[in-house]
């Protein structure tokens, strides 16, 4: 078992194609509200776990640290996030960057999706736009996407 061999298994996956690349110019980082959106299927224990096919999202409370990883794939190292949440979800690092003024503000809510989806149409047409609107309504300017 080796990381390179596991990554090679994904070589045949069909990648989504975008005719154009949307591009939003953010405010200066020192004035921006920043949120994390992860595909690690994180959720709080009192929220629904992710199903094998699940294109929805969970809203994460940035003041909590009781996250569970609901990702279904066996194809990642799990001890990194078990030791340190920030290995996948760098919430403490963002708090530090806000404290020293590098970023304007850390959002008090973040989002989590399930990354192991083969049919991305639901994400692209439904839960993706809904999650983006949800964060826009909370005046989020910048999103950091993290996989697992």
């Amino acid at each position: 078992m080796a990381d390179s061999d596991v990554k090679a298994l994904t070589g045949g996956l069909e990648l989504p194609d975008f005719e154009t690349t949307a591009f939003t110019t953010p405010p200066p980082l020192a004035e921006a509200k920043v949120a994390i959106v992860t595909s690690a299927s994180l959720h709080h224990p009192d929220q629904d776990d992710f199903e094998p096919i699940d294109t929805g999202y969970r809203v994460l409370d940035g003041s909590r640290r009781d996250y569970m990883c609901g990702h279904w794939s066996p194809n990642f190292d799990a001890t990194g996030i078990a030791l340190d949440l920030n290995t996948v979800f760098p919430i403490d690092r963002l708090d530090e960057l806000a404290a020293d003024g590098t970023i304007g503000e850390v959002s008090d809510i973040h989002l989590s999706y399930a990354g192991n989806q083969f049919d991305l149409s639901g994400v692209r047409m439904d839960s993706g736009p809904a999650g983006a609107k949800f964060l826009r309504d909370h005046e989020v300017d910048v999103v950091l996407f993290t996989p697992v």
Partner: protein
């Protein structure tokens, strides 16, 4: 991640996407992407290394000043040579009336509880099998390995999810037993090659494949390159 990045930018939010697989993040061309050549499961690179994580974030957020779409590679890589394995003692045989894998799982309970008390439970038991029921779940895979059809073996859920909880229980317990932070994949290699439960799951996986069961039912019991 890149799909969501395109969607969020269309909605008026600037994004930066981290990616662990170069071909994916370059092939999907997110508005701003940073290829971090780190092992899967560690997109910020190194657990408990705030300085390293901050270097990743500094590069990522620096991309926000680009006037056009951009994908760059983080300067540092983290390799996995496929050999590092966790080093920790397994419990001695306690109840000879039990299968060795079940006895082993029961013997790890105190270590598991210590790890959860210290670190929280992010990847351990509890997604479908509670810690109290891990021994019974292991026993169900013993039955499969010994020839019982998986649907009759009492597996308490979708086999891949049950196996994930068993592996998570073991890897979490190992964090309390080991004297070191494990190298990437070292926990998984330890589980599948050094523990009775891991070897039992691999034997059950082979038994299911040999019996002609549908590939998704057995394949996802372990990493795909095993």
């Amino acid at each position: 991640m890149s799909t969501l990045a395109h969607v969020f930018e269309e909605a008026g939010i600037a994004t930066v996407a981290l990616g662990s697989i170069g071909a994916h993040i370059q092939g999907t061309a997110p508005p701003r992407g940073l290829w971090c050549d780190f092992p899967l499961g560690r997109p910020l690179g190194k657990p408990n290394d705030a300085d390293f994580q901050h270097r990743v974030l500094a590069h990522a957020f620096g991309l926000l000043t680009s006037p056009e779409p951009v994908v760059e590679k983080f300067a540092e890589s983290i390799d996995d040579d496929g050999t590092a394995t966790m080093s920790c003692e397994l419990p001695p045989r306690h109840d000879p009336s039990l299968h060795p894998a079940v006895d082993e799982a029961n013997g790890l309970r105190q270590a598991y509880d210590r790890a959860v008390a210290k670190l929280g439970n992010r990847t351990g038991a509890g997604r479908v099998v509670a810690a109290d029921d891990i021994g019974a779940a292991v026993q169900s895979f013993v039955r499969v390995a010994e020839g019982t059809p998986w649907k009759e073996a009492g597996i308490p859920g979708i086999p891949a999810r049950v196996a994930q909880d068993i592996r998570g229980y073991y890897e979490t317990a190992a964090l309390a037993l080991a004297e070191h932070a494990p190298a990437p994949w070292a926990g998984a290699r330890w589980f599948f090659t050094s523990t009775e439960a891991g070897r039992t799951i691999m034997a059950a996986r082979k038994a299911m494949a040999d019996a002609g069961e549908k590939q998704p039912i057995w394949f996802f019991l372990a990493p795909g390159d095993m």
